[in-house]
Symmetry: C2
Subunit: 357 residues, 2 copies
C-alpha cells in the first residue's frame, strides 16, 4: 500500500509525541511492506510565529492532498491569558476541522488492564469499561456566530445545529453501535436547549431505522455524573461538539491519563488523527510527555483510514507488552511502579518500537 | 426569630424529601425558639397538571413574599421524550430563578468521612476535598434567545453574558474565597468562546482587587478532567450557568451521591434552597429517596438567609451522627453497610430528627 501522510506537530509537546507516532508508522511500513511517505506542515502557535496565520494556506493545501494527517497539539498560555488576542493557535485547529469537513470525532476510551491502578477511580468501577464517543466536530457553539458589543461589555456565541449535521454523525454512531454491543446513548440538554431538542428529535427518528440498537437519551449533567459513577454502563456515546469536548476529557481519567487517549476525526475527505491531550507547555521539551496517545492515533489511522486492522492490532499489542513489562511514563506511573521503569518520552517510544519488531 | 418559609415540593421525589427538610426546620424552630411559619405552592409538572402553567402567578407571588424557599425538584420523563412539547416543568424552575434574581447558585461539595467508601473515586483521592462552587444562574445559553427555523430543521440558543452579570457572581466568589483558603478557580472555554473571553477578562480585572486571593483560570474540558483526577486541588470554583450545571453534577460523585448535595440560590431577594438531585421519577413514591440533601438545604437556608450558624451546625452534626452510626439510604450504602441499617426516606428522616434532639 502507498500512502502519503502529513505530520502536523504543532505546539508544546506536539513535536515530541508525533516523532514517535511517525517512527511507529515507519516501522510498520517496513514490516508489512507499505510505502508510507511523509511531509510536515505548521499549525498553531508555531505557525503564527512563522507566518502570522495559525493555519497557513500551504498547510491546508498539503492536508487536502494527503491520505491521512497525524497531528500533535496546539495552544499556548500566552493567548489563554490574553482574552482579547485576535489570532489564536486554536483557530488553526478549528479551521482545519471545518475545511476538511471532519464532522465526526471518534474517541475510544481504551482501558489497558495494567493501568487500572493509575486511575483515580476504583478498579472495580473501571474494569470492563469500553466506550466509543462520537463527538460532533464542525458545528455547535464552536462555529456559530460570535459577537462582541461595541462597548465590549456583552459577548455571545450562537449554539446552532441543523438536521443534516445531527443526521450524519448520528448515522456513524448508530452504525458503530451495530457492530459493538448495540447500545447507543445520546447526550444533550433537551430540557433547556432548543438545539438539543432538535438533536433529540433527529436521533429519536433515526432510532426507528436502528431498532436493533437500544437507544437511550441522557442529559449532559447526568451523563457527566454517570460517567464517574458507573462508566461500564456506556458503550457508544453520541453527543454535540461542546458536550463531547467536556465528556471525553472527563473520561480520560477512566483510561488513567489523557496521555493514553487518541482520537480520529473523519468526514468528507482526509482523516485526521491526534491525541486528545493538549500542548502541555509546562512539560514541553523535557522528555516527559507520554508518546502513547500519538502512537495510538497511528493505530486508529491504520485501521480507520487505511483499513489495516492487523497492523493496528500489532501496535496496540506492542503497547500492551510495554505496559505489561512495567514501563510507564510519569503520568501513568503509580506508587507500585518500579522507579527504574519510569521512562521519558524517547525511551518509552523506543520500548514500543522494540516490542513491535 | 420570625420567618415565613415557602415550601415548593414539585415533582417526583420532591414532596418526599421536602417533607423532611420541613420537619427539621420545625424541630430547630422549637429547640431554638424561632417562629417558622410555612406555606406551600405548586411548580413543575404538578403545576402544569393543575393550572397549565409550570410556575403559576400565585406561586411566584408567594415566593416573593416569603423569607426563604425550600424547593424539591421538577421534571417528568413525559416531556423529556417529547422534544416538541411547548410547556415543560423546567420552565417553572428557570422562570423563578430569573424572576427572583437568583443569579448566584452556591453548591458546596461536602464530604462526610463516613461516605468516603460510597464514592466511585478512591478514598485517598477524595479525602480532604472541600469545594464551593459558584454557578451563575440567570444568564448564559439557558436564557439567551432560542430559535427554531420555520422548516424546523435548524435550532439555536444564544450563549450570552454581559459584564455586570459576571461581576456580581464573581464578587460573591472572591469574597467567599477570602474567608476560605484564598484560592479561586474560574472555569471557562476562552480558547473558543467569545462569552468566555469576556468572562475571563472580567475575572482577570477583578482579581486585581483581590490580590490576596490566588486566582486561576481553567478550561472547562480540563476542569472536568481535574475534578476526577485530583478534586483536592479545587477550593472556590466560579463558573457560568451551563458549565456549572455539568461540573456540579459530576462533583456529586465526590460526595458519594447526588442525594447528599444541597444548593443555595441567592441574589437580589428571597433565597432559594434545593437539593442538586432531580425529580427521580423512577424511585418516586417508593420511600427510597435520600432526604439528606433536602435537610442539608435547610442547613444552608438557616446559615445563609437567616444567619443562624449554630442551628445550621446542629443539623450537619445530626447528619454526621446518623452516618457515623451506620445508617444509610440505598444510594450511599456500600458493600460494608449493615443491611439492617439501610433505611427508607421516612426512617432516615426520623433518624436525623432523633439525633437532632
Ligand atoms: C484546543 C481546543 C480548541 C479543542 C476543542 O475544544 O475542541 C480541544 O480541547 C479538543 O478537544 O480537541
Ligand atoms: C432541571 C434543570 C433545568 C436544572 C438546570 O439545568 O439548571 C438542573 O439540572 C439543575 O442543575 O438545577
Amino acid at each position: 500500500m502507498n500512502k502519503s501522510i502529513l505530520v502536523i506537530p504543532g505546539d508544546g509537546i506536539g513535536p515530541e509525541v508525533t516523532t514517535w507516532g511517525k517512527a511507529v508508522l515507519e516501522a510498520i511500513g517496513k514490516q508489512y511492506g507499505h510505502q508510507f511517505t511523509f511531509d510536515e506542515a505548521l499549525m498553531g502557535h508555531v505557525a503564527i510565529e512563522a507566518t502570522g496565520n495559525p493555519l497557513p494556506d500551504e498547510t491546508l493545501a498539503k492536508a487536502k492532498a494527503s491520505d491521512a494527517i497525524l497531528f500533535g497539539a496546539v495552544g499556548h498560555a500566552k493567548y489563554d491569558n490574553d482574552p482579547s488576542a485576535k489570532v489564536r493557535p486554536e483557530q488553526g485547529l478549528l479551521k482545519i476541522r471545518k475545511e476538511l469537513g471532519l464532522y465526526a470525532n471518534l474517541r475510544p476510551i481504551m482501558l489497558f488492564d495494567e493501568l487500572l491502578d493509575a486511575s483515580s477511580l476504583k478498579p472495580e468501577i473501571l474494569k470492563g469499561t469500553d466506550i466509543l464517543f462520537f463527538r460532533e466536530l464542525t458545528g455547535d457553539v464552536y462555529f456559530g456566530e460570535k459577537k462582541r458589543s461595541e462597548d465590549r461589555n456583552t459577548a455571545s456565541d450562537l449554539m446552532i445545529y441543523s438536521r443534516y449535521e445531527v443526521e450524519r454523525i448520528a448515522r456513524k454512531a448508530f452504525e458503530a453501535a451495530r457492530v459493538r454491543t448495540k447500545k447507543l446513548c445520546s447526550v444533550d440538554k433537551a430540557n433547556v436547549l432548543e438545539a438539543s431538542r432538535l438533536w433529540r428529535e433527529v436521533v429519536q427518528e433515526m432510532a426507528k431505522d436502528y431498532l436493533d440498537v437500544e437507544t437511550e437519551h441522557m442529559f449532559i449533567d447526568n451523563a457527566a455524573m454517570q460517567l464517574v459513577k458507573n462508566p461500564k454502563k456506556f458503550d457508544v456515546v453520541l453527543t454535540a461538539n461542546l458536550f463531547g469536548d467536556i465528556l471525553t476529557d472527563e473520561a480520560s481519567q477512566i483510561a488513567g491519563s489523557m496521555g493514553m487517549l487518541a482520537s480520529a476525526s473523519i468526514g468528507d475527505g482526509t482523516g485526521f488523527f491526534e491525541p486528545i491531550h493538549g500542548s502541555a507547555h509546562d512539560i514541553a521539551g523535557q522528555d516527559k510527555a507520554n508518546p502513547l496517545a500519538s502512537i495510538l492515533s497511528v493505530a486508529l489511522m491504520l485501521e480507520i483510514s487505511f483499513g489495516l486492522k492487523d497492523e493496528a492490532k500489532k501496535i496496540t499489542d506492542a503497547i500492551d507488552k510495554t505496559l505489561k513489562n512495567g514501563y510507564r511514563t510519569g503520568d501513568i506511573a503509580d506508587v507500585n511502579t518500579d522507579k527504574n521503569k519510569i521512562l521519558g518520552t524517547k525511551a518509552m517510544g523506543q520500548k514500543v518500537l522494540e516490542y513491535l519488531s
